[in-house]
Amino acid sequence: MAEAKYETHEYDVVVIGAGGAGLRAAVEASAQGVKTALVCKSLLGKAHTVMAEGGIAAAMGNVYPEDNWKVHFRDTMRGGKLLNNWRMAQIHAQEAPDRVLELEEWGALFDRTKDGLILQRDFGGHRYARLAHVGDRTGLEMIRTLQQHAVHKGIDVYMECNLQRLLTDGGRIAGAFGYWRESGKFIMFKCKAVVLATGGGGKAWKVTSNSWEYTGDGVTMAADVGADLMDIEFMQFHPTGMVWPPSVRGILVTEGVRGDGGTLKNTEGKRFMFNYIPEFFKAETAETEQEADAWYEDKKNRRTPDLLPRDEVARAINSEVKAGRGTPHGGVFLDIASRRPADYIQKRLPSMYHQFKELADVDITKEAMEVGPTCHYSMGGVRVDADSTATTVPGLFAAGEVAAGLHGANRLGGNSLSDLLVFGRRAGLYAAEYVKSFSGSLSVNNDQVEAHARTMLAPFESRGNENPYTIHTDLQECMQDLVGIIRVESELKQALEILQTLKQRSLNVKVEGNRHYNPGWHLALDLHSLLTFAEAATLAAIERKESRGGHTRDDYPNTDAKFAKVNVIVRMKNGEFRLSQEPLPEMPDDLKALLEEKK
């Protein structure tokens, strides 16, 4: 029996991933009185949320009383090019303020307004200053607050424990299987519900702001048990990553730099964003430098195009560099020094100041930064029910970046941290409800478990001689070059072929050493999820023959009314991905009216 053979634990709910969504889900499930485990690949408090900088979007109206959930809803939908799940966007906008205030109840200390309330900052695509923040280290404040709260609630935490496969019984979730990174020994969880909170798969690209953890685990685990994936063609390339020196290429430069007064310039010293204002955003965007400058003084004016949604800005930078107006290192300039005094910059953006000073020898209070697009966020992921976060597999829930729907074709900055809180809580709540109403019994299938164990140990017994690091690097080159910001069918198809060879090569991976804290083995195992994520994203990118948000096709440069009405769904069947297009849920008229309001 698998239970006798491997370390086994029994819970009602197992939450996989301990970033913002996982922590919030675990806190909620535990508060609902069900036995909850929180399992994470790194040490607690190191998840990707810790790197989030700018803030949490929530229409609290502390800076602009005119702000409310309806405006936030509208901004989110427009930013997502109307492909968002309307119900998720509504819930998100309505619940985000309460989730932020809740963090304050748990000890978080946000920057304050003059009246002593939570200060909110400007960000791309948000009509009003809306991001609750702590300088430029908001994610750290959020994760530490949630972490400490979870610890004091006595939730069982399994750190450096990598769950790689879901176990099912009659199509329902029955557990999860993986290994301890330290000992390399297998561990099994028997449970009624699993919450996936594993983040995205940005580590499949070369220039990325994502850490080693972002290997597409959740998407792959869900796909492997037959759950639907959705919108996975939409990958956000954040417009501002560091570009120089090479070793820091891709590291994030917060949008807060632009929110707080930074502007983009090309090597001719021109603020080029005025040349890239799309029709869709014309009405609300300043047309001249003079008009944009007036916005910094009074936010009632039309806003600077530097703060257009991320997809627009990333494409603009890409075009400038292609046109030969980029820096020798392939970026453009981001200048805050000429608008803001040094002490303001250091107070508002301390970690950016530190990061450029230490890693690039650039003093951002005196000089411009060099920036360029970096792979940042996966809008798509596992398809979920808007209210409950339930996936198409009974007992499986998903929240945060791993889930699809809220952000549509492009996510607005600040909407990720609020997403984690709003839908993390809902995932914990509905997973607990599912467990409570569950009847019947579940058992773990021994053959399933043994098959997983054999696959995971294969790299030790392999007769091949492939180096897992080399395969990973080749994958990153492939995705960067062929499935990047600007896509074209011939290259996407070429990528698919390369992915097939990489899959074959990954079967011949050989790892040296033993199972004891062995990163080579860990990476060899992650190749499965990296390759699965990459393949799903590429297939979906071929399917969507239009340009929209985080998916730009050189061969179909415009939006297409036909594709405006559908999500691309990817589903694994008998070991192969199948694609389909399914209609978006119909939006109620009162919400449609909000979108049409010209403000």
Binding site: L43, V50, W106, L109, S211, E213, E358, L359
Partner: protein, 250 residues
């Protein structure tokens, strides 16, 4: 710039023992120690164990001792060293070895559990929580902590004194305690813990922790010393003690 060869000495081993191994590897422009460790891992020693996440000084995962100095590997530029200098990378010494550069830092997670949680005061009459920036500045300094545990690693109370660990929380948790004690909304009382179980008295303010903090938190001056003053005020102030006696009789 052409790639330069460097000579790295990296500690390899586990709880049973180990030694420094030599690696010669090319270093590219702008690289940090963590880049070089990753290059060794990818090209010469696939199983070299190291923790890392953000690679930007924000997560506090890649702590190690580089040429004997506790540092984040991701924020230690290779051009800090002289050309031709051998660079030694060892795991943090204060924590038990797991493997290579990875140590067992569970001590810190146990200490975190012992600290009573944040407990908010009642809200304002209008249902809000008002705090002013000047009142939270100093606590926000403490919240900058990325839990790299380098301060714990250099603290001489526990660095070579395993026996002190049960009775000493260490600088990281003095910072945490100070952040709670000075939080404008907190209503919990942790003074007994600070005095007794956390072992604040062991600290004789040599400031080693402050020196290694990658976030430049003034651990000694802003957290530890004020906490020591509070302990003195509570437990050793004769006038307060007298007043305390009277108020108890009321």
């Amino acid at each position: 710039m052409a790639d330069q060869q460097v000579h790295m000495r990296v500690w390899r081993g586990d709880a049973q023992g180990g030694n420094f191994r030599d690696y010669r590897i090319a270093v590219g422009e702008g690289q940090v120690v963590l880049d070089v460790i990753h290059a060794i891992q990818a090209q010469q020693a696939n199983d070299l164990a190291v923790r890392w996440n953000c690679k930007a000084g924000k997560c506090g995962s890649c702590s190690a001792e580089v040429n004997g100095k506790p540092r984040l590997m991701c924020m230690t530029r290779m051009n800090l060293f002289q050309p031709g200098e051998t660079i030694t990378v060892a795991p943090m010494r204060t924590f038990p070895i797991i493997r290579d550069l990875v140590t067992d830092v569970s001590f810190n997670f146990r200490k975190a559990r012992e600290i009573p949680a944040f407990k908010p005061k009642p809200k304002e009459a209008d249902g809000t929580r008002r705090m002013f920036q000047e009142d939270i500045d100093r606590v926000q300094e403490f919240h900058k902590c990325i839990e790299c545990f380098l301060c714990q690693n250099v603290c001489h109370v526990i660095r070579d004194h395993e026996e002190n660990k049960p009775a000493f929380a260490g600088p990281r948790f003095f910072v945490r305690l100070a952040s709670l004690e000075m939080h404008p909304l907190d209503a919990n009382d942790r003074m007994e813990l600070i005095k007794q179980k956390a072992g604040l008295g062991f600290c004789n303010i040599t400031k080693c922790c402050t020196e290694v903090c990658p976030e430049h938190i003034h651990i000694t001056d802003n957290a530890i010393i004020p906490l020591k003053e509070r302990v003195v005020d509570r437990y050793y102030d004769p006038i307060a003690k007298l007043l305390g006696l009277f108020s108890q009789k009321k």
